[in-house]
Symmetry: C2
Subunit: 409 residues, 2 copies
């Protein structure tokens, strides 16, 4: 892992686009001039060439193996990021619902949204914009916060009230802005309440996994209709969106139009992606390439079990020092115990000008990207896969120093 800490490089704790392994960057730099000995750079080679299509099939296989994706689910690649999927999941799942239930009036179609932070809130707003059904906020975590307005918790299971037969049930596994995440232990009271899902064999469960994709195994993966993620947190650069879609959710959207559904733009249709093996039109070649290199490296390192252990250790170390700072009146955690994200640790630095002193000190020590999202402020430490234990320890060490300085000053 020593290859991550090249002396001229800054440690990037940013929330995404985020750090990538140096070994991958070096390999990619070579690939820009000559991809796999073809004599043509990766940014220049045809996406229909046998070399590139084989590469894409291998990226798919790497995801399948490491996440143990069952044969019931397809792995697809597209562009447009999570925001494009805010629309695509609604359009495809409404088309599916329409084919299953051609006679239900539009006003009676429900879409259940679990709102635990800024991103799931935005996703629900997009469903509202698009129309085609009633958007129901199954639970709004703000109502379960002490202030009544903060996204600082995962609500208890008693707070969920799913519709009887919704077109989709949506949640965001890890809220990048707010630092809130469902527990990985499905038996925990802050896990996603899979056991409360409507009793149908093919649950319409949709999960935004953008900022926790492949940081650890995905619990109950097979129960999901759609899992999607932008690559730019744990597995690659921006420009690639990865989808895991259960086959019954890959529907003929044009047939659904004849049953009353809204037309789906061709590149947002999962059937288009599936039928073309994710090569309907030219994909984001560079992003796919670098993601492939990251995934290969991840498998070599030990796959999901390795990253789960690593990421747990990193997160625990940072939460531990935040706790120490909190007991000394220097830091203040922003998220309720049991709801904390492994990927984005958020806290406030208390006192006049203290946040600026914290950030300046970090910058002097070569650590960047620690400013919280502009909508919530404070500090955010993003600990994606490429952040090493050593880098995490440097930050922890600095936090201890800072606590010392602030309390003796």
């Amino acid at each position: 892992m020593s290859d991550e800490s090249s002396p001229s490089r800054i440690t990037n704790f940013g929330a995404g686009p985020s750090a990538l392994p140096v070994s991958v960057l070096e390999e990619a730099a070579k690939g820009l001039l000559n991809f796999q000995g073809t004599g043509i750079g990766i940014a220049e080679i045809s996406h229909r060439s046998s070399e590139f299509t084989a590469f894409v099939r291998n990226v798919e296989a790497l995801i399948r193996r490491q996440l143990r994706v069952p044969p019931t689910h397809a792995v697809l690649f597209t562009q447009g990021g999570g925001s494009a999927q805010f629309s695509a999941v609604v359009m495809n799942m409404l088309a599916r619902y329409r084919l299953l239930h051609p006679d239900v009036p539009t006003g009676d179609v429900t879409m259940d949204y679990v709102v635990t932070g800024s991103w799931s809130k935005k996703a629900a707003e997009e469903a509202e914009r698009l129309g085609g059904g009633q958007v129901r906020i199954v639970t709004d975590a703000r109502k379960h916060s002490v202030s009544g307005k903060a996204f600082d918790n995962i609500p208890p299971h008693s707070a969920y009230a799913f519709s009887k037969d919704p077109a989709l049930i949506y949640y965001c596994e890890n809220e990048t802005v707010d630092g809130v995440e469902f527990s990985h232990d499905v038996a925990s009271s802050s896990s996603f309440p899979y056991h409360l899902l409507p009793e149908n064999t093919l649950s319409p469960l949709v999960a935004d996994y953008s900022s926790s994709f492949m940081c650890r195994p995905i619990p109950r993966l097979g129960d999901h209709a759609i899992i999607y993620a932008g690559a730019q947190k744990n597995v690659g650069p921006a420009g690639l969106t990865i989808l895991i879609v259960r086959q019954d959710c890959i529907v003929d959207v044009d047939a659904a139009v004849r049953c009353g559904a809204a037309p789906v733009p061709i590149t947002l249709s999962y059937k288009t992606l599936f039928d073309s093996k994710s090569l309907y039109n030219t994909p984001s070649v560079l992003a796919l390439y670098m993601t492939g290199l990251v995934l290969e490296r991840m498998e070599t390192m030990g796959g999901m079990e390795y990253y789960e252990a690593l990421n747990k250790k990193k997160a625990e170390a940072v939460y531990e020092v935040v706790k120490v700072g909190s007991s000394r009146g220097v830091f203040k955690p922003k998220v309720k115990e049991g709801s904390e994200s492994w990927m984005n640790v958020v806290f406030d630095v208390i006192g006049d000008g203290a946040e600026k002193r914290f950030l300046d000190g970090a910058a002097q020590r070569g650590m960047s990207g620690l400013k919280g999202h502009r909508s919530v402020g404070g500090i955010r430490v993003s600990l994606y896969n490429a952040i090493t234990e050593e880098q995490t320890q440097q930050l922890v060490q600095y936090c201890h120093e800072f606590i010392g300085q602030e309390t003796t000053a």
Copy 2:
């Protein structure tokens, strides 16, 4: 220009993704590890950082200056390629029409498509899929071919019959598959018939410029409502779509819904892109970066005037040798004189096994990507900006040798 012909590199005459200047690839390789001395690689840096947003503004400025984009038009960046724009142009232009004419029944709304090849045909099919108006094929070039079924010509001006007040008028400037292109001389009979456009001051003219973007100045740019292009032909890698949109076509799509238009997915709305300065969500950072490097280099080389002269020379050289081959019964041009593309030169090689001999001989000499599109076969020579005169001459030289071999055999 000698930097293009590094000995281990193959000359890539592919139709896209396509060749990029070696100097740009080398610069990008460095940027992967350290972007502008920030100590963070370009694939890792925040798209909200001051360094990256300044870079994006400069990419915009480089396009504006070189194409002389008037202040009436915005330059926007997005993802999803031309195929996503097939849908987006329809949805945004229908929203605009709906706001201008809230009372026109949907059945009376017309969308005029000029079909001169495979891509404009596909675009018209997507408009048909999406509904929201009548798709009218203004002209179908196949009807003007000798066989009655080939996209081998630009129809005469007398063949166009535009609607009175269409929601959009669509054409594809250069047909990558078929090698057909509108004349650059607006006075020519095979230019786009701008003079026949409906007489309104703000024409709803939409052009797909994917494979001829910035290979030369764009004629009548200011008369266009929308010009769009994937970067992966002349100006960068795949994953970036560039839009030039007249301000009156950036409309409040949600207000249009209240007037009866279909909802537009948030990332396909031009207003979303415009309001966020193309940074609504994380863009395809690497593709934007490399495009910026290519555009900087293009400006240094002499901008559009330089590339116009260079590309003219390259195309003339290849058409010349095709003519020689044709007179000797070895080659057969596929496109009518006056309708030939500068960017994609298509021809057949005559005789049993001759096409394979041609391709094998080219491969032995380090030239690849010459196979025609699978739907039409034959040979296609793509001569995008990064292909040098020297590389073109190598190909021409080889064609002469091949003609010699075939005629003495």
